[in-house]
């Protein structure tokens, strides 16, 4: 089984927080948290004969996230790294990823992705990629298991759990996963440094300039606004628990109306 693992490097928002609603640039980066779930799932599915190939598009620093995938069990990696890819929106990104897959790894069985990236928060690339490749997709998953050549994927949807059975040539996007954090060993680090990491430029996958980067994008972020809570809080000064409970109940009842 060949699994393609699509990952993204994002700013480490857990350490930096936001700047007026905008994602800060220039600080440290990490593997996108939802891509971590996809990585965990891919490695858990991988048998001895199988191959997990990590793919990321991004600046040179994105190789750090691919290194993490390789440390934790991916077999090799592609890094789509070219100034011509800069400024890609979701459409241009999906198109570039699809072209790499068609050109280099068209014999894949499954594609695993994080549902969305912590910086852009669009959640559209997985679906667009599946459409461009003409394959079925399940979004918002939290669990995958393998049964021979088939995968079973679970997701929560409108208060119920859905289970899908997928044959080869399908895409699964992970919303959550296992919370146990994995740490590579120095042996894993050394092994990862010796695994194959191929840097791919636009020309390597015969992509026109007009199909990628800013030129191939249909959307541009013009501004970001922070929405603030407009409803004011209420201060209650009360002496005993019983009247406090009554007052809170009354305040909630009034607000519901």
């Amino acid at each position: 089984m060949k699994i393609l693992l699509m990952v993204k490097q994002v700013p480490d928002l857990s350490a930096s927080g936001m700047d007026d609603g905008k994602v800060p640039r220039g600080g440290p980066s990490v593997l996108n948290p939802q891509c971590e779930y996809a990585l965990d799932a891919a490695i858990a599915l991988k048998g001895e004969e199988d191959e997990v190939i990590a793919v990321s598009m991004g600046p040179p620093s994105a190789s750090g996230s691919l290194l993490r995938c390789l440390e934790l069990g991916a077999d090799r990696a592609y890094h789509l790294c070219d100034p011509d890819f800069a400024g890609s929106d979701v459409w241009a990104t999906a198109k570039t990823l699809a072209r790499l897959i068609i050109e280099k790894e068209s014999d894949f069985d499954y594609i695993l992705c994080g549902q969305r990236a912590a910086d852009g928060e669009t959640g559209q690339v997985p679906s667009m990629l599946a459409e461009l490749l003409g394959i079925p997709q399940v979004s918002g998953c939290h669990r995958i298991i393998r049964e021979l050549a088939f995968l079973h994927a679970w997701r929560g949807m409108s208060g119920r759990i859905e289970r899908f059975e997928l044959g080869p040539k399908a895409l699964i996007a992970m919303e959550t996963g296992c919370n146990v954090h994995r740490l590579p060993s120095m042996e894993d680090f050394l092994a990862a440094k010796r695994k194959e990491l191929t840097v791919i430029s636009r020309k390597d996958i015969s992509l026109e300039k007009s199909d990628c980067g800013l030129m191939g994008s249909h959307t541009v972020v013009k501004g970001v606004h922070v929405l603030t809570e407009s409803r004011e809080g209420i201060k209650l000064h009360l002496d005993d628990t019983s009247s406090a409970v009554d007052a809170v109940y009354e305040a909630v009842r009034r607000r519901d109306k």
Partner: protein, 531 residues
């Protein structure tokens, strides 16, 4: 051209503009992380240097003791008041700006700025609200790439002013030295409310004295007669050296000579690191592994040790789900752990292989390690290490409910490299014969582990006091220091008498009186109060 003259400046004293608290409101200021509890009549909260000056001027005029307080993260009771006033610097938490000189970039900060704040600015390039202390400094810093303040005391909520006051160090001092080496400038408010502005390299002691000048009142400040022990990490006692820089008089003096109102700290270029944690079956093997790490060329930036008891304590916390519930299982258990950071450069792979063969000879291996290069992961290692003292603090706080007189007991001993093995043997032997429960962790790179005593009752407490005393005595005999980074504060004053003879202590008393005649500043901290 150097000089020995310190020029005093003065603010117009006006205490009415300083926020004051009394009654129950002072209760929040009576304890620090030592869990020692004090008392105070009033708390003054100032947001600027003029406020510090006004409070100290009136305290001296009215002969009222003043205890300086900021984040209260100290563990030796330095911020615990003994009556009188508390002067809280909690609102002086502004990072002022960035400057540049011949040596490199520096940052100007108010005393209550934390390590966490400056790390956030430097890590994320958040220079937007900062001033250019020298023209073009910020744009040049941006161009030069990420920088770092190299001192990293474990408590990242500690304030920079307090770090300077007790010459804090931390894991990275193994390579970079303590706070003293990184302070470029201090503004210090003296007990009479006057202010000194001292830049490193400008004012030096001449014939064993500084001249304190200003307001037509010139006096000599005689320095101390002893040579401060700089062979080991040392935060015990007032700094002294022949022809010393005036700035060093105040760094490490625990706020008894003056109150820091502004600092400038030096920055260095950041470089990528691989953080590693190796698990070794026993403490002795881990210590031998550390010796090997110390022998490497361009070796680790820091070397930290957690003994088997420490790892066991973490494992218990993890199993009970209090802390580390999302942490993977240890790759080796039971085990001691060694944390170290190595630079990511061309020789990294060769270095890892070498480390692997040493680990193998100790019954471990590269597969019995964790490592991280992404900063989020590296930060997790740091929190992991910090969780041990936090778990100890929380344990002592729980025992204190039953025994109110109990406070945290632990060592802060450093010894020279040549005595490290002997000292470690001493720890083992003395702990065994005391029958006390302990955990050991800390800065083995600097031969400075912390032994924390998990005391259960007042019997244990007395045993622990004896043990700490005996260990301190042994360390001093080996040329070490019983207070390497926490300072002396109120809790470790008796160690001063073990490190310094009576003449030397009287020398410190004389110096204190020259700058604070009425002994209003932090009385009972470092030196016994002469009030």
């Amino acid at each position: 051209m150097t000089r020995s003259r310190l020029v005093r400046e003065r603010h117009e004293p006006d205490i009415s503009r300083v926020k004051a608290l009394d009654g129950n409101a002072v209760n929040a200021y009576l304890q620090d992380e030592s869990k020692l509890t004090g008392s105070a009549d009033m708390v003054f909260i100032t947001s600027d240097e003029a406020g510090i000056s006004s409070v100290l001027y009136h305290a001296t005029a009215g002969n009222v003791p003043v205890t300086i307080s900021a984040r209260r993260t100290g563990v030796v009771g330095g911020a615990v008041p003994v009556g009188g006033w508390v002067l809280s610097l909690e609102e002086m938490d502004r990072v002022v700006g960035i400057g540049e000189d011949d040596v490199g970039f520096y940052m100007q900060v108010e005393p209550n700025v934390t390590l966490r704040q400056i790390d956030d600015i430097l890590r994320n390039g958040r220079y937007r609200d900062l001033e250019e202390i020298t023209p073009g400094a910020i744009s040049r810093l941006k161009k030069m790439g990420r920088h770092l303040y190299p001192v990293d005391p474990t408590e990242s909520n500690a304030s920079l002013g307090a770090n300077a006051a007790c010459n804090s160090s931390g894991s990275r001092s193994y390579r970079h030295g303590p706070t003293r080496d990184w302070v470029r400038r201090l503004r210090v408010v003296l007990a009479d409310g006057s202010v000194l502005d001292i830049r490193r390299g400008e004012v030096f002691a001449k014939n064993g004295a500084f001249i304190l000048d200003g307001e037509g009142d010139e006096r000599m400040i005689e320095t101390l007669s002893y040579e401060f022990n700089r062979e080991v990490k040392n935060s015990a006692g007032i700094f002294s050296a022949d022809g010393m820089d005036a700035i060093d008089l105040f760094i490490g003096s625990e706020g008894i000579l003056g109150v820091v109102s502004l600092l400038e700290i030096r920055l260095i270029p950041w470089r990528p690191m691989l953080s590693c944690m190796a698990f070794v079956p026993d403490d002795e093997g881990a210590l031998r592994f550390i010796d090997h790490l110390k022998g490497l060329d361009d070796g680790p930036e820091l070397i930290e040790f957690i003994d088997r008891n420490g790892i066991e304590m973490i494992e218990c916390e993890r199993k009970e789900g209090h802390l580390f519930s999302n942490m993977p299982e240890f790759p080796l258990f039971p085990a001691a752990a060694v944390m170290f950071d190595i630079p990511v450069d061309d020789s990294l792979e060769m270095l890892i292989e070498e480390i692997g063969s040493v680990l193998k000879s100790e019954g471990s291996g590269l597969d019995r390690t964790w490592c991280a290069h992404e900063e989020r992961e590296r930060e997790r290692f740091r929190s992991f290490r910090h969780a041990i003292p936090e778990a100890v603090f929380s344990y002592i706080a729980s025992r204190k409910l039953q025994y109110p007189d109990m406070h945290k007991m632990g060592t802060d001993i450093s010894v020279p490299e040549s005595s490290s093995s002997e000292m470690m043997k001493c720890y083992r032997d003395m702990v065994d014969s005391s029958g006390l429960r302990t955990v050991m962790f800390g800065h083995m790179g600097d031969n400075h582990p912390h032994l924390e005593l998990l005391i259960q009752d007042m019997d244990d407490y007395e045993k622990a006091e004896r043990l700490c005393h005996d260990l301190a005595e042994k360390a001093i005999g080996l040329g070490g220091c019983p207070s390497a980074e926490h300072g002396i504060g109120r809790l470790k004053r008796r160690y001063l008498g073990m490190m310094y003879d009576e003449t030397q202590i009287q020398d410190m008393v004389r110096l204190k009186k020259q700058l604070d005649e009425k002994w209003v500043l932090n009385p009972g901290v470092l030196l016994e109060s002469m009030r």
